[in-house]
Symmetry: C2
């Protein structure tokens, strides 16, 4: 299978860099083909702007979504964006690996999402009708592909627990797992989170790798998170609110996952 690993850490000789190298070896030894988008090494441009369309502006104003749509349709996107989209089309599974900085991904990775996720590619896909509100949240260009986050934090696991002060890690990652990955159609696997990275020693590094390695070995067999599909009947359209009879009386991120 084809795996795209998108990696966002500035130091190759960091724990994150070592884990990225480990992942590539582990996946290749299992017979997979791996491409790495090492965003810092690529000097990835983070800020979405008018230069992302190689064609001149229509009119005098840059409109982020309208220009993204036009560039995608006309084949005038900048080459770095097209290359990443080709990798995504090629991939059977995508891993986003990053340190959690201020409770989300580093800016350079956010800029990969902002720019690669073009209108017509990752959003603005599919028809809108009374029963279908675009191909999104379970349908879309990434349908049939798997995705997983590999995340490191400096903080303790308890700080990210169900009543930990930072908020539960699953809720912190929801906008990424549900909003960035499930939205264009990925099947999203549970995240692999490594806490308290400053305490990882040479002695414990082997265990950290083995734990990650098991997740990589199970990339094709791990059941994905059971996010609810938008157009399968659970939501009113166009309000896109969960039907009253589902998770009655409850609210928040959790209602968008089917209970087991």
């Amino acid at each position: 299978m084809n795996v795209l690993l998108v990696f966002a850490h500035p130091e190759p000789r960091s724990l994150n860099g070592a884990l990225k190298d480990f992942s590539v070896r582990r996946l290749e030894r299992a017979g997979h083909v791996v491409q790495v988008s090492d965003l810092y090494a690529m000097k990835w441009k983070a800020a979405l702007d008018a230069d992302d369309n190689t064609a001149p502006l229509l009119g005098s104003r840059f409109n982020p979504s309208a220009d993204s749509k036009r560039a995608y349709e006309n084949g005038t996107q900048s080459a770095d964006i097209e290359r990443e989209q080709s990798k995504l089309r090629w991939a059977d599974a995508v891993i986003l690996q990053f340190p959690l900085w201020w409770f989300t991904m580093p800016a350079i990775l956010k800029g990969w999402v902002d720019r690669v996720y073009a209108y017509g590619f990752a959003y603005g896909v599919g028809e809108h009708s009374d029963s279908h509100w675009g191909d999104r949240y379970g349908e879309g260009s990434m349908a049939g592909k798997r995705a997983m986050l590999v995340v490191t934090t400096g903080g303790w696991a308890s700080h990210y627990g169900s009543r930990g002060i930072n908020g539960p890690i699953d809720d912190i990652l929801f906008p990424i797992q549900h909003g960035v990955l499930f939205y264009p159609g990925f099947d999203v696997l549970p995240p692999h989170v490594i806490h308290r990275t400053s305490k990882v020693t040479e002695a414990s590094f082997g265990e950290v790798c083995e734990s990650l390695g098991k997740r990589l070995d199970a990339l094709w067999t791990t059941p994905p998170l059971r996010f609810r599909r938008q157009n399968a009947g659970d939501y009113l359209i166009p309000e896109l609110t969960l039907r009253e009879e589902l998770a009655p009386g409850k609210s928040g991120f959790a209602v968008h996952t089917e209970s087991t």
Copy 2:
């Protein structure tokens, strides 16, 4: 009073640009002094990296937090970072204005947070003991200052409601309001969110401005969100989990706000 408006949209002649201009005029007419950090106009560098310290690396590896600490302590931070920190020290209130892209801030603004929020400035502040786990979540360099988000979305308000498919807007913004703003000590006001921006017309623009204007007029009087202070007794230290008797049996982001 002094207001810093950090603005992250690539097109000055957009709705966001017009709202930014409106905000500056409104605040200045009320007698406040306003500085704008227009990140796109400033060509803000989004990616945190070793160049953020003008001194050479110690050793051969770049360590994001250790190097941030060293640069901050030694006065060797890059000039763009120092300028933004000075603006933050100067400000009595900070407004972050941005379009919601993929359920969080645009990359360029995330890069402002990643880089300006240095170790010793926004984190790694204060003592750690059995009863105090650093000056954070209600204490810190930004204590006594107010902060507010002004956010635009393309989607409908119902999509961001308590059972809307995107998740509740308050939960989507929690990692920013609680994790980026309350963490270094800001009093965080309720956000001002403008939905369905493509439907704002010349006719309705005045109402959109007036609604925002009322929030700006009340910047000094609006009660802040009642996030729980870390070191005031609500949390076990060092686990940083909410004490059992508070919000008993509950979990998730909501438990970190005191009920009224």
